[in-house]
């Protein structure tokens, strides 16, 4: 009995120790488990934080990749270039959207697949889909060909730790800007609320060098033909993975980007002109698209073409008010017609001791009466039953004078000369200054007008896209700040360049009589002439360069002097003047900007070789080559 009791006691004591040990272990395990759980929670918080950061910077890396690639066109040596592959229409229309996709190894990314975890659920807000902003998209445009062929990222698959999924490129419109409508007008907001489409809600947004503008509603269809750049909206999606599958952070960023360069409103942007020319002025202001070497950019069939979205612009542009320029152009027309009518007979021979050139004969025409007149002679009989002359065209070639200039007077009658009515077809105001025949080198007689010989793609004194003013060679931007903003963009470029090695600040005096070269096609220069005015004086003066040439005061190119500039020439002073004398040689290939107030002096006749001012996007862009695409804004969307 006692033994049994002892045995029992002994067993109980051992059990107590075991229980205590188990209890202690339980406590320790519990505490350990709690700490592990806490640690896991901490790890997860860390992972989420890191995932969020990775997604943000992945999306940004995508934006930066595209921002860099759209600077250049694609070529065998630069296959990543995108400048020639950008959307040409607004989203929802054909060729309106371009995706750059960046799949990981073995991954398929289709932003248009509704079942894909990478579906673009923000695209529908860029066109009239009926889905309001703030609600995720559930479909894609139904228009055929609404997206361009997707292009792969330049990032090697699987090697990028910051792999975004896709970047969407589309033109910015007032709709995509909602609720921050570019014109801040209520009309677009009302249309959006009513589910309508069209202007001004679906109007593309342009960049004038300093600010965004809506594309003006005129016959010029693009930002470029209105003196501005297209604004592109980049939308980047980045999704990080955690563990297996897509369950990490999703970030969508948007950036508005625009080329750093400008698109002049006209080849020559000026406020006013002076002209004393007696004949066809030896200047060719050509708004068609030219290459960097000055040649005309042509379609395969030889017609002038659009180059990477760069279209022809008008010859002249003005900031505010074109009446002075219209008047001056008519003065040029009047002088040409007067000279032609007083120099050419209908058979092309000269008269009055004047030489009849092929161009003047073309103006004069081959009929007995001249094609154009400058005035109308009215004869009024004082004794009643008088004769109303009304002659338009004058007495014909044999009289040797312009119509209305040398009528005799009938007995008892009075003869008066009045300017011709511009509504009549034969008034000198209808002389087309954009006709290459004005630079004809030879002519043979033809029906009404001689058949002239002109060189292939021969320019004219004022040629290019039609403007929007009374004279079709003049364009005036609807927004008054467009021209000042273009000039400000050039001045900004100069300011940014002052510390760079490609910046030059030569004195005007050193350039005036010597030969100087600045920059090359691969390394453009920024030249800011010091001194008030630059006169390229005589045959020893030869200024050649690529990039930007800024003249603080006035610029004069005298007879025999040469200016060969590829890029932008800016006459900065509002009281400055650009004078191209007869016999001046060379060209400006790119764009010529005169500050508002500065005057362009049209050269008078006397030179067989016109000084050429030609439009070239390549040359203009060259000046801005060192700058990246400008980011107008960046925002993180809620999607």
């Amino acid at each position: 009995m006692a033994r049994a009791l002892a045995k029992t006691k002994s067993k109980k004591e051992r059990g107590m120790a075991l229980l205590l040990t188990l209890f202690a272990l339980l406590l320790l395990s519990g505490i350990g488990l709690f700490m592990v759980l806490s640690s896991n929670t901490e790890t997860r918080i860390d992972a989420n934080y890191g995932s969020s950061l990775r997604a943000y910077y992945a999306a940004r890396s995508g934006l930066e990749e595209v921002r860099d690639r759209i600077r250049t066109v694609s070529s065998p040596t630069n296959p990543g270039g995108l400048a020639d592959k950008l959307p040409t229409n607004i989203a929802g229309n054909p060729n309106g959207v371009l995706y750059i996709v960046n799949p990981a190894n073995g991954e398929t990314i289709d932003p248009t697949d509704i079942t894909s975890p990478y579906f673009d659920d923000d695209l529908c807000h860029a066109y009239n889909s009926g889905t309001p902003k703030g609600i995720k998209c559930t479909g894609v445009p139904t228009t055929s060909g609404w997206q361009l062929q997707s292009i792969s990222s330049q990032v090697t698959p699987g090697t990028s730790p910051l792999g975004y999924k896709w970047i969407r490129i589309n033109m910015k419109t007032n709709r995509t800007a909602a609720p921050y409508f570019v014109d801040q007008a209520s009309a677009a907001a009302a249309m959006l609320a009513a589910g309508q489409s069209g202007a001004p809600l679906d109007t593309p947004v342009c960049w004038d060098g300093q600010a965004e503008q809506l594309l003006p509603s005129n016959s010029n269809p693009t930002c470029e033909t209105n003196g501005m750049q297209t604004v592109y909206m980049l939308t980047a999606l980045a999704v990080t993975s955690q563990g297996s599958g897509v369950n990490g952070t999703r970030k969508m960023l948007q950036a508005e980007v625009v080329a750093p360069s400008i698109r002049p409103a006209g080849v020559l942007t000026t406020a006013s002109m002076t002209a004393t020319t007696a004949s066809v002025p030896p200047v060719a202001i050509d708004g068609r698209v030219h290459n960097l070497d000055g040649s005309l950019f042509l379609n395969p069939d030889g017609t002038p073409a659009i180059k990477n979205g760069c279209s022809a612009i008008s010859a002249l542009a003005t900031n505010t008010g074109s009446s002075q320029m219209v008047q001056m152009l008519n003065t040029i027309r009047q002088n040409i017609v007067s000279t032609a009518n007083s120099s050419c007979k209908s058979d092309g021979s000269g008269m009055n001791g004047n030489i009849c050139t092929a161009a003047l004969w073309w103006v004069r025409g081959t009929d007995s009466t001249t094609r154009f007149v400058t005035s109308v002679t009215t004869t009024t009989s004082s004794g009643g039953g008088g004769h109303d002359g009304g002659s338009s065209g004058g007495p014909g070639p044999s009289s040797g004078s312009d119509g209305g200039d040398s009528h005799g007077t009938l007995s008892g009658s009075t003869t008066t000369n009045t300017p011709c009515d511009s509504t009549t077809a034969n008034c000198y105001t209808h002389l087309n200054l954009s006709d290459p025949s004005l630079f004809a080198t030879s002519a043979v007689s033809g029906l009404h007008v001689p058949t002239v010989t002109v060189a292939a793609n021969q320019p004219a004194p004022f040629i290019g896209n039609s403007g929007n003013q009374a004279d079709s060679t003049i364009y005036q931007p609807p927004a008054s700040q467009t021209v000042p903003n273009e000039i400000a963009a050039v001045i900004n470029l100069v300011a940014l360049s002052r510390t760079k090695s490609n910046y030059f600040n030569p004195a005007a005096a050193t350039l005036s009589t010597s030969a100087n070269t600045f920059g090359t096609a691969n390394a453009p220069a920024v030249v800011e002439v010091s001194g008030s005015s630059l006169v390229l004086q005589g045959s020893t003066a030869n200024l050649t360069g690529y990039g930007v040439l800024v003249i603080p005061g006035s610029l004069e190119i005298t007879s025999g002097a040469q200016l060969h500039w590829n890029g932008i020439v800016l006459v900065q002073s509002s009281t400055g003047q650009l004078t191209v004398d007869s016999g001046a040689l060379g060209y400006i290939n790119g764009g010529l900007l005169l500050a508002p107030g500065a005057v362009f002096s049209v050269p008078s006749s006397g030179s067989s070789q016109p000084f050429q001012i030609t439009y070239s996007c390549d040359a203009v862009d060259l000046a801005f080559k060192p700058l990246p695409f400008k980011v107008v804004s960046t925002a993180e969307t809620s999607f």
Binding site: M35, V631, A635
Partner: protein, 242 residues
Amino acid sequence: MAAARSNSIKRTRSRGYSLLELLVSLLILLTVTAVVFQQIDQMQKKSSSEVMKVDLSQQAREFVNQTIRDLHMAGYPNVTMYSNQQDLTKVAAGLVSISPTQILFEGDVNNDGNVYSVDLYYVANDPNDPNCPCIRRSVVQKTSADSLNEGVGGSYTETDHVFPPGTGPGQSGEDLFTYYDQNGGPVNVGTGIDISTPANAATISTIKTIKINLSMLTNLRDPATPNGFIRTSISATSRLNQ
């Protein structure tokens, strides 16, 4: 018979515990238990300490996250996004007033189509708030063209028990907000500048990155380190879009 009984008692006693054995075993048991409970106590303290650290880190991260996201939207929408500026309340000025302990900026921080004036500022002492030093955030919708006088919205404390920022004695060693230009060079804002003067506005426009240096203390003493508070520091940079 007596011998047999004596042997039997002897055997029985030899199988039991003597008082000494009991005392020794109790002592061992107590020692083990004491060690175990001491460990448990330390673990509990550690656990509490870890929980406080986690809370502290989380609070700091939430503040930094929100601040970074706010700053990403600073200056959006900007003035160049408009062809005319009839309604200046729709134009975000970006950074308006900055100092080592304050950032006043404008942006569409809520993605709702409105521009807000956001003021992040350090409060060293508030007699009505024992949780200060703290950082507060005021958000008010922009209603005036004057970015410096948008009025005061409700200020909410973002973080409590901030370790005083600055480089002086008893301070964290870093300013709460430091500013850098596009090349990563520091931008000196002194004791604070705003856009009221062209020179200062030009200085502010050069700022492309803001670094947030936050040091915080726990609101309770750290049980694991008697008489001490847990301090955690977090730094983050935010790239501006202005």
